[in-house]
Symmetry: C2
Subunit: 348 residues, 2 copies
DNA sequence: TTGAAAGCGTTACCAA
DNA sequence: TTGGTAACGCTTTCAA
């Protein structure tokens, strides 16, 4: 029924071993033999049996990319870059075709663990975890355990935009400098004279949320300015929209709002507009991540640009081994402050 | 070194066959035995070997979701919905854990084929192809061949937002009614009195591009209105931005611009604003897809809402067999006209 | 309800 | 450079 390697071997009048060697290309084979085998493969329309191959070789060509929210371009951009990098690194040699696949955890710790187990089952060649992680100790421990086990089994582990698990050097980590970015953003607003700044934070238990908030507070503290109202919520538009009402209720005289990221900032802006407040005339708004659409959605949005594409590509290369892991296993990637129209001074 | 099923069997004092049956749950096993086995699994921290399992069973639990551009929320939303649906359908039984993975083709026909081959190698349980397809006959034939082969090998094939390959009923297809959507959009503008309407189309060789353009032209023809300038380009913001200059050069008196989708519309709006043209005062703009951010980016954007989430979820269910395929193998999903501020009449 | 054993299709080692 | 042949770890009849 289905064509096997043995069929190809018979047709090419060689042994199965030889066919395997031709297909994998990592072994010397006479050119004439090679051609004969490839012709047979073509004629029979043979497709390698992945599971059998993985079983025998004890590894697969699967690379898992875990993201918190696949509908968010923040992850889409990084994942896309990673997939391209992984695809390209395979071009180097004939056999190294990797299957980069992205898995959507939806921010759920259980699904994250489930996917890790599934990838472990598949004997994945590598796993990339993208985006902030939950800070629940139990989940952290569970994840760390899984990652260690994966690494032990020969799976490359790469963290991208997520802090490394303490004490585990088996994973290469690319970490965004969320703290500094948030600090720069706040300093910018403070420098313009803003003193009543609201903050729409992400979910309370995520690393990105905490780091950005910490950077923000650092700047306020350094300037001796009292912290304005802060509201937590998911990293989406609705959250920014809802939070804005709350912020204004707590301090009707806000002159600026900092959002956890650009998507949240969109919601903030929508809510402000609904109230007839102009941006940045009445209220200045700042975001984070600098997603492509943000400039259209809110031309006045000052934000922090993270090198998503570059980071994703590097993560991909680290996953295939095309790039050496950074010294110490981790590297901090800076963000760049992008100043747009919200560089307005507060009124009055 | 690594724990195998035999180890678990030994520890639980049963045969490997029994362990397999417990793990797969599709066989009657005495409750006491079951518990003993599960305890052993836990104690030994056993993880099933996916490749071995797939080899023996001749199928895997991998479900591939192919998308044209993972950085585009259009695909992200559908993919996310599909993944959730696939995950949930597994919850029904203990063993049916499926690994839904999304593969980014980047719109490249070669990569699409490569991914299909890779999934074929893996003996994927199902494959979902999302989004418009290239209309090149050669590529179409190649794809059709692959899909047929996949179906023959027992892989479920689902098309979502892509027209079915002619004469192949082996794939379930959910098709967006792009033609009607585009027609409604144009009729709306015509109804308002617009007579000089520019069109920014997608890439020339994609089904979505053609269908939307056809619907647009249908409406114009029916109204006896001459077609305005049309420019083709990729489905992204830059394309809309660049195309706008071209459109205005060809007809400086345009009163409306229809974009291939919301992302393109964003670029159109940005370009119009740069020229000091107000939306919808000077020029009305229409989009397609109704992506979440579009309302923020362009509050005045009239567009067509496609049920992305619902379609993705159904595709996921079709892939797992949780939902019966539509009669005839294909079903057309309508879009809904969303009228926002661009319901302005042309000036003068 | 459980066990024994024959594959599943490759890979990789050892010879030749 | 090539062939023979044990693994690889699981599923699945067939018997008991």
């Amino acid at each position: 029924m289905t064509v096997t390697l043995a069929d190809v071997a018979a047709r090419a009048r060689v042994s199965p071993a030889t066919v395997s060697r031709v297909l994998n290309g990592n072994y010397p084979v006479a050119e004439s033999t090679r051609e004969r085998v490839l012709r047979a493969v073509d004629e029979l329309d043979y497709v390698l049996n992945g599971p059998a191959s993985s079983l025998a070789a004890a590894t697969s060509d699967l690379v898992g990319v875990l993201v918190n929210d696949i509908a968010d371009p923040f992850f889409g951009i990084m994942a896309s870059a990673a997939q391209s990098a992984i695809g390209e690194s395979a071009t180097g040699r004939g056999g190294g075709e990797k299957l980069a696949v992205v898995c959507n955890t939806g921010g759920s710790p259980e699904r994250e663990l489930t996917y890790l187990t599934l990838l472990q089952r598949q004997r994945a060649a590598a796993v990339i975890l993208m985006g902030g992680s939950l800070e629940d100790p139990e989940h952290l421990a569970a994840t760390a355990g899984k990652l260690t086990k994966l690494a032990e089994a020969g799976t490359r582990v790469v963290l991208c935009g997520r802090p490394p698990v303490s004490g585990d050097a088996s994973a290469a980590a690319l970490v965004f400098d969320n703290r500094t970015g948030a600090r720069l953003l706040a300093e910018h607003l403070l420098g313009l004279g803003h003193r009543r700044i609201g903050y729409v934070a992400g979910p309370a238990d995520r690393t990105t949320t905490r780091h950005r908030l910490e950077g923000h507070r650092e700047a306020l503290a350094a300037a001796g300015v009292a912290e304005g109202p802060t509201v937590h919520g998911p990293y989406d538009r609705a959250s920014g929209h809802a939070a804005t009402a709350e912020l204004l209720a707590r301090d009707p005289h806000l002159t600026a709002v900092v959002a956890a990221n650009d998507t949240v900032a969109l919601g903030v802006c929508a809510a402000l507009r609904e109230r007839g407040l102009s941006i940045p005339g009445d209220v200045s708004v700042a975001g984070f991540d600098d997603l492509p659409f943000s400039v259209d959605a809110v031309p006045a949005l000052t934000t922090v640009r993270l090198p998503l594409h570059e980071a994703g590509a590097r993560a991909g290369r680290l996953a295939t081994g095309a790039e050496e892991p950074p010294a110490g296993g981790r590297e901090t990637v800076p963000g760049e402050l992008v100043i747009r129209g919200s560089t307005a001074r507060p009124r009055g």
